[in-house]
Structures are given as C-alpha cells and as structure tokens.
Amino acid sequence: MNCEFFIGTSQTEFRNLNIPDNTEDITKEIFDKMIKDIFDSKKDAPIEIAKNFDFNLAIERNKSFKYFLEKLDRLTEK
C-alpha cells in the first residue's frame, strides 16, 4: 500500500485520523501502524482511502509526491 494514497485524505473526512499537515516523514511502517487500528483488513483500507482521496491536498502535504507528479507531467508533456 502506498502512503501517497493516504496523504491526500483530509483530517475531518477520514475517520478522525490525526494526519499531520506535513506527511513527508510518514514511512510505510508508520502508515501501516496508523491504519491498523482503523481497518482490520488491508484489502478494505485502500478502497476506503481512495474514496476520500484529495489530489490537491496530497500535493500540498507531501513535497515528494508533488515532485514525482511534476516529473510525470514533464514526461507527459514530452
């Protein structure tokens, strides 16, 4: 499961998870730990997360994600 899914969800919409404004330091391990108490199925979690995914919020919260998207955009432009 990619953290990128998670970082786009909003704090108020998504099950009272305390998502920080900056998600740069959320590793896969931290992410797994955060959702473990919320979802008992790792197959259920990404679907629910995707429902609440906010693309702009994800870019705002995570520079790495923004960087890769910019890279992708440049590749697309070419």
């Binding site: 008992d40 199925s41 790792k42 197959k43 259920d44 679907i47 629910e48």
Partner: protein, 409 residues
C-alpha cells in the same frame, strides 16, 4: 489459537495420518483421495464437542471406521492446539508469577461394539510454564483423563522437591487433589473454570462451508443468523451485515475487489417472511433479483461473508473457486491468506490456478497408498519437486501428477 497438528487413526479412508498445519492450508488430491474425509475429521471434533452420541451418528456411526481394518482397531483423533498471548494469566497474585499455557493436546479414541460406540480413551494435556518477569522458572503439564465418564487429573511430572502450592494456582491444584466428582460424558463437553482458556469453544467454533449457489438465492426460513454450510441462509446473513453501517461499508468494499460492477445490495422480505436480495449493477437500470444472479457472483458473496464476517477460530471451505472466473483467483487467495492471519483457514481445491497463487509450504497432498488408505504428504518436503515448481509453477506440477514425485522415489 490454532491447530498445529492433527493425527487421525482409522477414520473414514485414513488408517494413520499425521499433519502439521499452517495458518493457511490447501488440501489437494485426486478424486476420492480423501480430501473431504480429512475435512470431516474437524467437523467430527466440532460435533462431538456439542454432543458425543449425536456427533458419532452424524458421521456414520460404526461406518466412519475403515472397513479394511480389523474391527478392534480404535478410531482416534488427536489435535495439538497452539498457544498465543491470550493463554497467559496470573498464577499467584501475591508473587507476580504468571502461568503461560504453551499447547493443548486433545485426544479422543473410540471403538464400536455391536454397533454402539465405546469410549476407549479421552484425554487432554495442558502444557504450561510458570514465568516471573517473562523468565520460565517451572514447567509441567496438567493431564485430564476420562475413564468410564469419570475425569481424573494429575500433573505429568510428579514433584518431590518443589512446593507446587508456591506458584501453581490453587484452582489447578484443586482439580488434581479433588478430581472432578461429577460424572461427565466427555472432557470436551465439560466446562473447567480452573482452566482460563476456552479451548472447548474452539472446537464448537469450527466453521465448515460447502457452498451451493442454488441454495444461496432464497433464505431457507429457519431464522438462523450464522451462515449455514451450504449458504442456505445467505440472504439473512447479508441482511445482518448490511444493517450495520460499518459492516456494510467493509462488505461492499471487499465485494468491489472481485465484483467492481456491484453498487448496492438490498435484502427484502417475502410474504412468508423469507428473505431474498437484489444487486444494483452499474450496467443495468433495475436491480437483479437473487434468483437471477450468476452462480459465481453468489459464491463470491457467500465466501466474503464467511471469511470476514463469521466468528470462529477455524474455517474450512470446500472448493472455494467453484463457478468463479480464474482471473479473480489471485484476489480470492489473497483474501484467504489475509483472513488466515486471524483465523486458521483450510480449503480443498482441484484448481491448478488456485495453487499457482499459493505457497508450496501451505499445500498438503492427499493420495492413496497401495492398500487404498488415504495418506497426506507435504510437497515442500520433497527437494526434487522444488526445481520443477520454480520452472513450471505448482499448478502445472499438480496437473501432471508430479506433486508426489519425491515420495515415490
């Protein structure tokens, strides 16, 4: 808690078989090799844990013994239940000792005389450690033996120099000193308050499923909310899931992995109070009523209900792949593996595609020996096979009947 090992003697097609089980177990074998008989051994344990006589009669009475064996050969089933943290309890509150139950060994041996059952032996052994600050300072086993419906208790190791009263809970000592005065038919039916583990409930909670999509379409009207073996009350089970907001959310998410075109499921009552359901699909304007839903869809709905929404520590499913498109098998196996992290999963299958998504270590092969008795082997123990599996995949090896290759040499 899960079954680490099962030993079967003179039960149906088995003469003598011992199997070490994993969290996820895939039983394969040719037609009439004994796969369902193996699964039936677990059902037998479940049924005798409810009622001894009923359990025996349900499984054929004297006919569950193998007719090729001499009549005086008893039928025995032994299981070893593994431990987890829930086995730990405080042994002596004053001295901060803890008692940790490592394993429970249960054995039931019966025979038949003039077509009526005779209890040869029933015993259960609780292996335990006494720990202080997580360090083991003492170990022993409490052994309960049923003789003529009287249960006697003893410690396996007799102690001459250790004062057991110092750290063994009084409740355990009382069992050993006083034994159980009342008459009990079986230990497996006897609640023992001194043992803080609900081990008998473990057998009662074994879930067995052999879904028939044709029976899943309309509630059978018996009112049971626990999913039945063939899925006859699936509409009622779905109603309970869908009435709970959180369960509904999870159920529809899981269904969407395999059936992404399903948007909504509704359950409704007929005039005779039986339930039916309908699916709203992306493709159609009006919902599809359950009698017109495809067999594969029905099987998937039943499987997800059984895997994720039924309580119990062990789940047995006969051929879960029935009527399902092979492209979905990777997700189906993934679901079963995920569930096996919380409860033990045992499936039977004839599908090479299912096997291709399984780990070799989870596969148990059942075949017949030269005398016709069923035997069980683990292909992973055959070094010769591993080379072929890497090259061809487990499914192809199974189809070519080489899973037993190493055993035959």
């Amino acid at each position: 808690m899960h079954i680490q090992r099962i030993e079967i003697k003179n039960f149906k097609s088995f003469e003598n078989a011992n199997v070490d089980l994993n969290d996820f177990n895939v039983i394969v074998g040719a037609q009439a090799s004994g796969k369902s008989n193996f699964v039936e051994a677990f059902q037998f344990l479940k049924d005798v844990s409810d009622d001894f006589e009923k359990g025996i009669n349900t499984h054929g009475g004297p006919f569950f013994q193998n007719l090729n064996l001499e009549s005086y050969t008893p039928s025995c089933i032994k299981v070893i239940l593994g431990s987890d943290d829930s086995f730990i309890t405080r042994a002596n509150p004053d001295l901060d000792f803890k008692i940790r139950y490592n394993a429970i060994e249960y054995e039931l041996c019966i025979n038949f005389k003039d077509n009526s059952q005779e209890l040869i032996n029933e015993s259960v052994k609780f292996n335990f450690n006494i720990c202080r600050d997580d360090e083991k300072i003492y170990e022993n086993s409490l052994l309960l033996v049923n003789k003529n419906c009287h249960i006697t208790a003893s410690f396996e190791r007799e102690e001459k120099y250790v004062d057991l009263e110092y750290f063994v809970p009084k409740s355990l000592l009382n069992i050993v000193n006083d034994n159980l005065s009342e008459k009990h038919e079986l230990i497996i039916n006897t609640p023992l308050s001194a043992i803080p583990i609900s081990w008998t409930n473990y057998f009662k909670s074994i879930n067995y499923y052999d879904f028939d999509p044709k029976f899943c379409r309309l509630d059978d009207g018996n009112g049971k909310v626990k999913l039945s073996e063939s899925g006859q009350n699936l509409p009622v089970v779905l109603e309970n899931i869908l009435n709970d907001h959180e369960k509904q959310r999870k159920y529809l998410n899981l269904v969407s992995i395999l059936l992404p075109y399903i948007e909504k499921i509704d359950v409704f009552s007929l005039e005779d109070n039986r339930r039916m359901f309908r699916l709203s699909e992306k493709y159609t304007k009006s919902p599809v009523l359950s009698p017109f839903i495809s067999d594969g869809t029905m099987n998937i709905l039943a499987l997800i209900s059984a895997l994720y929404f039924e309580s119990g520590d062990i789940i047995l499913i006969e051929e879960p792949e029935r009527n399902i498109h092979p492209a979905l098998f990777i997700q189906l196996v993934g679901m079963m593996k995920e569930v096996s992290q919380n409860k033990q999963v045992i499936i039977t299958t004839h599908s090479p595609e299912i096997l291709n998504y399984c780990d070799l270590e989870d596969i148990h092969l059942i075949s017949r020996d030269s005398n016709g008795f069923s035997k069980i082997s683990k292909p992973i123990n055959n070094e010769e096979i591993k080379v072929f599996v890497d090259e061809l995949g487990i499914g192809q090896i199974f189809v070519d009947d080489y899973l037993e290759f190493g055993n035959e040499l």
